[in-house]
Symmetry: C2
Amino acid sequence: MKPVKIRPRRPELWDEQRISLRTVERLSTYRRVLEDLNGAGVEHVYSHQLAKAVGVTPAQLRRDLSHFGTFGSTARGYNVIALIRAISADLGTDRVQNVVLIGLGNLGRTLLSYNNFEDRGFHIAAVFDIDADKCGKIFAGRRCYHMDELEQVVSGLEATVAILATRRTGVDQLVTRLARLGINGILNFVPKALVSPPGMFIEDVDISSKLEKLSFLAKNVPRDEALPDLQE
Amino acid sequence: MKPVKIRPRRPELWDEQRISLRTVERLSTYRRVLEDLNGAGVEHVYSHQLAKAVGVTPAQLRRDLSHFGTFGSTARGYNVIALIRAISADLGTDRVQNVVLIGLGNLGRTLLSYNNFEDRGFHIAAVFDIDADKCGKIFAGRRCYHMDELEQVVSGLEATVAILATRRTGVDQLVTRLARLGINGILNFVPKALVSPPGMFIEDVDISSKLEKLSFLAKNVPRDEALPDLQE
DNA sequence: AGTTGTGAAAGGGTTCACAGCT
DNA sequence: AGCTGTGAACCCTTTCACAACT
């Protein structure tokens, strides 16, 4: 995975500031664990404590954070709330973002009623399906629109991310349609390798693939090789 | 991500055969795309063709495959069916595997009726929930068992992988219970950093985290930096 | 004494480029 | 001519280890 050149908040770092996407992924988990600590009333945490709780090395945690600024104090470690705020700001989840959901099958409806999204700063603002029977009906408080209304509805939402939970047929055209609407990130549940237009980021969620990985490990890795800290 | 020492099928390669887990993950997608090609009647494929279809470089594809044997012919490239068989054998999905599903909320029920698992060689052989109201009832053809029956039911299944779709409370104890039952792989949908007993592999599926990654990219990456081939 | 942030080193993964083959 | 499989080079990521600090 190539690192990505980011647009830093402080212009003096503009040139050649590169962040690994792995670092970004870990930021999510850091924040989630920090929320737990905060809920438990913890105010300050040392890198080795937080690192243990998320399953990384202290050095990696400190390195990851150092890309975004210096948050720690030598005496007390990291202020939990301040660090949550800082990570949220970097991820862009410090304000609620509208996302669009396409496909209201079993999976789509489950995602729609998945509270975790709202908790983490994402609001499913509109839902779409091709099935005319579903359109007009209300699902988890949202009226379902027909795919034909996509352009019209989405343009008013300022959404940049779409969740794809449709069947395989026609997804490629759908992706280009979304790109034209200003969507530049897709969370893809369709088990198919999408062709991504320039400027579009696609994150695949392939659950079967994870099962296959586990199957491989169960089959090939001797018990004593399996380390407790194996992380993704 | 550390590479993993595997138990090679050919003993002459025993010492120091190491496979990157990234390679294993890609194997899944190779196979999926190969199935498509096979369905379209394609018999042979060159590395550059297959690589383009899955979104990796030809060199990487060849390198990945080379860890498991030599499958290609200089003249005709790779035989599609033979390669599917070889990858399936390596992943361990050449025979159907029983898996266990724990938690029958919205998500659990969706996973239960998700055909993709069966298509890819995984059979959900038993489902469990704590809710006494659900137990005894039939969901997608499977009787729901109570968590108390876990030991009794699972021991007869020869399952090595469990899918966790429960609430957060009590998951850690659940993981150790599963470990004692011979489960050594967990597909975890619970948004919590699990502590993994020795010998246990845990794959987290954190959908919100992927949204956060997309949010970061949308916010920080200049349009012209977003490459069409950005893969995970 | 014990922590953070970070140069430098080590380790791991990807790509290059070509020998060997058809 | 054009492919595969692979040593070697390159690049990216993680870890080490320590100066600066409280």
